[in-house]
Symmetry: C2
Subunit: 189 residues, 2 copies
């Protein structure tokens, strides 16, 4: 895959995190990626919308891998909860509260206005749900309960990002991690 294409996707993802979809201009993308306008339309003939969908899908997959990594390190899914939320909290602090998740940041913004982006976010969320659900099921939960709990965990972390970025504090996000740990432990008991 082209280096230029990679630079464009990476730069767009970074801009999306702090400015959202509508707040990011293709001119900014060309500057940050050090790539000309023509290259954007060469790799993404559908323009901004197609580029945005690619950013969601590719960074969504990267976050899923990150979750798998943290979950593997934590050993079991109960201990993975605080590890996951605290890791996210650390990342937020280190980046001065720039959003660390471009998917969640974009999903609500465009859900009613850009159908291809909504669909891209749905497929990313489906992957995340499955990753968490699989581990919950492996720990003993039946499939339906595991899916529902996985979705609550995703909702909690995305909503937690919202509060943390607004307040510029990760205190609540960390506390939410322990609440999710309680919820998982109770479900498995």
């Amino acid at each position: 895959m082209s280096e230029t294409r990679k630079r464009i996707v990476t730069a767009t993802g970074e801009l999306f995190r702090s400015q959202g979809f509508n707040g990011t201009s293709l001119k900014q993308v060309t500057e940050h990626a050090d790539a000309p306008t023509g290259s954007i339309y060469h790799f993404f003939p559908g323009g901004k919308e197609e580029l945005g969908a690619a950013v969601l899908r590719e960074s969504g997959a990267a976050y899923q891998q990150l979750f798998e990594l943290i979950a593997d390190e934590a050993g079991d899914i109960v201990d993975a909860m605080p590890a996951f939320f605290n890791g996210a909290a650390d990342a937020l602090e280190e980046t001065d509260f720039i959003d660390i998740c471009p998917i969640g940041n974009i999903a609500r913004e465009v859900a009613s206005t850009h159908e291809p982006l909504r669909e891209a976010s749905v497929s990313v969320f489906a992957g995340w749900t499955e990753a968490i659900q699989t581990r919950l099921a492996a720990a003993g939960l039946d499939a339906a309960e595991a899916e529902a709990l996985a979705n609550t965990i995703i909702a909690a972390i995305e909503g937690g990002f919202m509060l943390a970025r607004a307040r510029r504090s990760t205190t609540d996000l960390r506390a939410t991690g322990t609440h999710m740990q309680q919820l998982v432990a109770a479900a498995l008991a």
Copy 2:
């Protein structure tokens, strides 16, 4: 307070729900509010940013009243949880998944780019936290635990909105309501 000002704020709130802050133009506001451009700048000399902050504060207060109402009807805070989440889910379905909460929709979008809007969202969230915290404390939780749990509940509902709007399904949002009910019940036990 002027009728025109009210129409402007209401129309902007509605547009924010489906399109976000950057996705909503002042031209659309003039059309939906049936008010001229001059009136926007008369009531909000600071332009779009000042109008946006007013929308966040005023609709944030309205949602807080709605929560109080639902909590009063439910009787106790444990039963208020599913009532609250299911009510939100019903509203989402009735509006064809237009966002029912302009605050959460805007908060992440502008947290790093529009300081006055970030501050407005913080003060709205503070009111919500306090409303839930007060009821949790009245039910027997100590202040710190009540505050942390209140924030998790807010995170869960806002993240739940995100998933529900993206997926165009309220199944997960309702399930998250029962998870929050479990969490509250366990904390009070």
